[in-house]
Symmetry: C2
Subunit: 647 residues, 2 copies
């Protein structure tokens, strides 16, 4: 059920689902309510008056009986049960005109959809690993063909299967298994990526097991490893799980991992750590999916170039030494167990190819998952993280580049930065006159830090309300207590310690903002440089795809306000989520995709930003909010002008 | 130097090489000299008179000074240094006429020659594993192609190499090795057996190592494992060594090995034992050849079906259960280290395919080595051993079969039988009147037993001289001491214990002879049945090829006399030696042969003797010397008739 919530006195409305908390509806509508406890009903600041409609909860010791009887509730603990009209109490209202030009409603990007039925209709649903059930005639005195030859002949004559090959492990199983159910067996066949390749018979099971064929998709992130079980009959995911990459203890980023790997037995250690994590993830998802590990026939993996080389135990040393050359960008299919993946010998591992040392298989997986390589439309694909990777192109051409953005988007290098976990502040509003914050946390608990998307919104709000200027410096003349100097560093108090889970105030400092500006500047200028390299402007781009967990949470207007994303209509932006994982899932389901991957990699032109002199100019220009060239952000300029003129 | 030796009074001559011992020359000429000590000069019986010419040695305490001055010498210790005329002392002569129809000169088969130059001329010298030296341009700021892609591109553009693939082990080596000598490397490439297959890059070394490319050929015998290092540049063998298959402790023949393998961890144990032996052989031959083990790029193996399955750890159970089905007859190339062969990961193992449970890869290797599959001429190929395998055919068709002959040809099941080792009696003559033996041993030392080829000659001589009849029974009326009954078993004393290395007389018994007759009967009747199956007689066969160590030593006339071989002119018989090993060597040198192997296996029709009712009839008929149907042996009949009529 969806209900309409009307906020007075601003007369803003928003559509939300049943059970949405009122404070969230207010945030989505762009309506400010003072709130600092993250939504647990602790601070009691978010008093609102229900003028019409039905809510559940909302009662608290912070409300007197009289307040309650008048219809006052706490917005953070009120759940919507009907269309509602809500009034924001007058005590926090000063200048309504100005409130009306406040930041618009939150707008996250639409999620991309991946449709298995569509694949089927297009005839592309051809898993690279298939099972075939054979009912063969038994060996007799007059027909003592060798067991394997019997299977191969039967496949040829009854199933039109040719160019068959096999391996020793399979041959070892054949004699016993073929006799277990009177020469009725199911064989597992790996399809070649090219039609003139060989079909490898990799497994044999007694009887008919064709309905038990499962794949695993794995995204090998520098920070996190996600795995997903896929039913190769239906194409549906059955269980998913993520774990921190255990390599983290040896360095947070790829460079420190590479440095560790090149000393002593570092490569071996990192290889083992990532294997431990992968095997832990596999154990969990297999359990969640309720299947037997031996029923896994395929595992598709993608990671950045460093993660890929560490997993495959390939010395990554030259990735970080000029001229930054990876060992390989293509990897042959191999037996998963060969590298230590805890799956049966017959499970084949398919690794996504990359493009260069800094544009890896995870990006290619995302590009494949996005489908941009099959479309006429010009797409700007951005994977936002510690390393920012950007791809531009369509079905005819593609270019890519990578920039080091630093860890700010993941909460790194920011005093109270944290990963997107329970207690992280993920949304913020700042009152344009009082500069009082309204915050929401993940899990609606007392805050303990700020996650990446929260940071972006925070900086956008601080900028819009004039708490900081376009270089990210605090305005010291506002005369409010929340802006203060500690140890000679200017900061803004977002939450006082009483309302936190911590023993100190949660603040954002000028160095924090500076780090975020550098990160967004790297990202934006990389995109700008790449566009310029191919002679395009952002206006010629038909759509923007955001990959990475980040893209699904970030408020688009905030991201544009700070100049992380170019100014483009929200409708033209979609988010892919974990594009790497999705690409891996697709790879398990359609061999046609595997063929396309090679073509995409081969047509992709890699630009090294270090080789492009204009990159540094663009970067310097991007170290402002939203940018030195405000013409690139007409909408932001207009809103800021309105806010400032209203002040 | 070759000299002519003339024996008087028989006036027989023979051509022999310088330094040949006179007793050997006599044996070759078919001249009998009493001798029982094997050639050590111990018994002093082989007195001869040098009438003309020069010898070295021949003096002994058994000769008085007077004898010596007259020109008497001991034949066994006299070495030929010129043309010589020798007189056999009159004391052992009784009836010259009869001596002249004695067994003819020894005639072993001509060895087949394998000519590398011929292969080159025919354009067939294409080792399945080749090395190519690449001088690539270095990676730079403007050319940061991935290392592997650089190699693949260079191979494509500079060496016309296409359809290239690789593996993880190779990729792991690339980054460091490519930089060791400034992007100058040698890559090792495995050629596909079919032209539409893939070329796999399996190794990379710094600099130019193209002159260091070696292969290993291995014959996996039930009893013995032979290995040979081959220089893949020249095609020449560099070092060879044989060891007893350590599986022997678990059973002498394939059936007992299969039985052991199917209990508990028997398969694992037998697999490990054969690996131990192979690795021991490899260590030895690599040392002999003076090369580094890592320089081995190829290992080609052949064995019978049971040996093959045990080595590859494939349950051999169904080989001995009706309907006698092997797991597979074809085996894909694999990394040698994968099965425990102690070679570097990059060494590829190629296993010869077989035809059936009892005609294995060793026979196919022999067939390939013999070249019979490329010729118009009809060939009868016989591998004589515990298991007798027979192939008939030419370039257009081929049939094969196998029979269990028992161990008699290898000295098994014979009281004083032994393998062909030092002290084994390998040649025998029996005086037609005195029935006194003349023996020669391997190594010219005192005898301790009789080897397979010695047994055949012994039985032939006993039969020709009438010591035994055509059913192998002793004539008890000859009135000589050497024929006697011990524990109710009739026997002939070949050497009295004083002249042996043992503490007892060396004899041949009726059961010994019976075993040999059964063995030769199985062999002969298998060939006869197979000929009959394809509507041919022995007269239509253009040549006979004997494979197995046995074939190179056996005296052809003796083998025909006892009916082991059909009566065919000696010139039409060639021996292949270890055909399995030779086939493996060829396989290392020419990929064209690998292509042919598949065709040969596919065109080979396997006959199961158990399914051919006439086999038992033929077998019963063959249990006589030489055969019940004497018409099949006209030459033998003629000689026997002559001998008997002279008596």
């Amino acid at each position: 059920m969806t209900y309409t919530i009307r906020f007075l006195p601003h007369d803003k409305t928003v559509e939300v689902k049943e059970n949405t908390r009122l404070i969230k509806a207010a945030m989505d509508a762009g309506v400010h309510i003072n709130a600092s406890c993250g939504g647990e009903g602790v601070c009691g600041k978010c008093r609102i008056l229900i003028e019409q409609g039905e809510i559940e909860g909302g009662i608290s010791e912070h409300l007197s009986e009289e307040d309650q009887s008048q219809g006052y509730r706490l917005a953070c603990v009120s759940r919507i049960k009907s269309d509602i009209t809500v009034r924001i109490p007058i005590e926090s209202e000063v200048d309504t005109s100005r409130l009306n030009v406040q930041a618009g409603a939150r707008h996250t990007a639409e999620a991309m959809d991946f449709n298995v039925d569509e694949l089927r209709q297009e005839g592309l649903f051809i898993p690279p690993v298939e099972k075939i059930y054979l009912e063969m005639s038994e060996a007799t005195k007059d027909d003592h063909q060798a067991d394997l030859a019997r299977i191969v002949d039967h496949l040829r004559t009854h199933h039109d299967e040719h160019r068959l090959m096999t391996n020793l492990n399979l041959i070892r199983k054949v004699p016993d298994i073929i006799r277990e159910q009177d020469f009725k067996v199911t064989v597992t066949i790996i399809r070649p990526v090219r039609e003139d390749g060989k079909n490898e018979i990799v497994n044999i099971e007694p009887g008919d097991t064709t309905d038990r064929n499962f794949g695993i998709a794995v995204d090998i992130g520098t920070t996190t490893i996600y795995g997903q079980v896929i039913d190769l009959q239906t194409g549906e995911p059955l269980g998913q799980h993520g774990e921190f990459n255990a390599q983290i203890s040896y360095g947070e980023d790829v460079i420190s991992r590479i440095m560790f790997a090149t000393k002593g037995d570092g490569l071996e250690v990192l290889h083992e750590r990532v294997m431990d994590t992968i095997n832990k993830v596999i154990a969990r998802i297999v359990k969640k999916a309720g299947i037997d590990k031996d029923e896994i026939t395929t595992i598709t993996l993608a990671g950045n170039t460093t993660m890929t080389q560490l997993l495959l135990k390939i010395n990554p040393k030259y990735i970080r030494l000029a001229p930054y050359v990876p060992a390989s960008i293509f990897f042959p299919p191999f037996h998963a167990s060969e590298v230590g993946i805890d799956l049966n010998d017959h499970a084949v591992a398919l690794f996504y190819p990359g493009v260069s040392s800094y544009v890896g298989g995870d990006i290619i997986a995302g590009v494949m998952a996005s489908g941009m390589y099959r479309e006429e439309a010009l797409t700007l694909f951005m994977d936002i993280g510690t390393n920012a990777e950007i791809v531009i192109g369509n079905k005819d051409w593609m270019v890519c580049t990578a920039a080091s953005a630093g860890p700010a988007f993941e909460g790194g290098g920011v005093k109270f930065g944290m990963r997107a976990a329970k207690g992280a502040i993920e949304d913020i509003s700042i009152h344009p006159q009082t500069y009082e914050p309204m915050i929401m946390t993940i899990g609606n608990v007392k805050p303990k830090g700020i996650c990446g998307s929260g940071l972006i919104t925070l900086v956008a709000r601080l900028f819009e309300t004039g708490v900081i200027d376009n270089s990210g410096k605090f305005r010291q003349d506002l005369g409010i207590q929340r802006i203060r100097q500690t140890d000679e560093i200017w900061e803004y108090v977002l939450v006082y310690k009483e309302a936190t889970q911590l023993d100190r105030d949660i603040v954002i400092t000028e160095p924090d903002i500076d780090n975020l500006i550098r990160a967004k500047g790297a990202m934006f200028s990389a995109a700008q440089t790449l566009l310029e390299d191919v002679g395009l402007t952002i206006n010629e781009i038909d759509r923007v795809i955001l990959a990475g967990g980040f893209g699904s949470y970030v408020d688009l207007e905030s991201a544009i306000t700070i100049g992380l994303l170019p100014e483009i209509e929200a409708e033209r932006v979609t988010y892919l989520g974990n594009g790497s994982l999705l690409g891996c899932r697709m790879n398990c389901l359609t061999n046609a995709l595997r063929r396309d991957v090679g073509n995409v990699v081969n047509m992709m032109t890699n630009f090294e930003l270090a080789d492009t002199p204009s990159y540094m100019d663009h970067y310097m220009g991007a170290l402002f909010l939203p940018h030195t060239e405000l013409d690139q952000f007409p909408r932001v300029k207009q809103r800021i002008d309105a806010l400032r003129s209203g002040a």
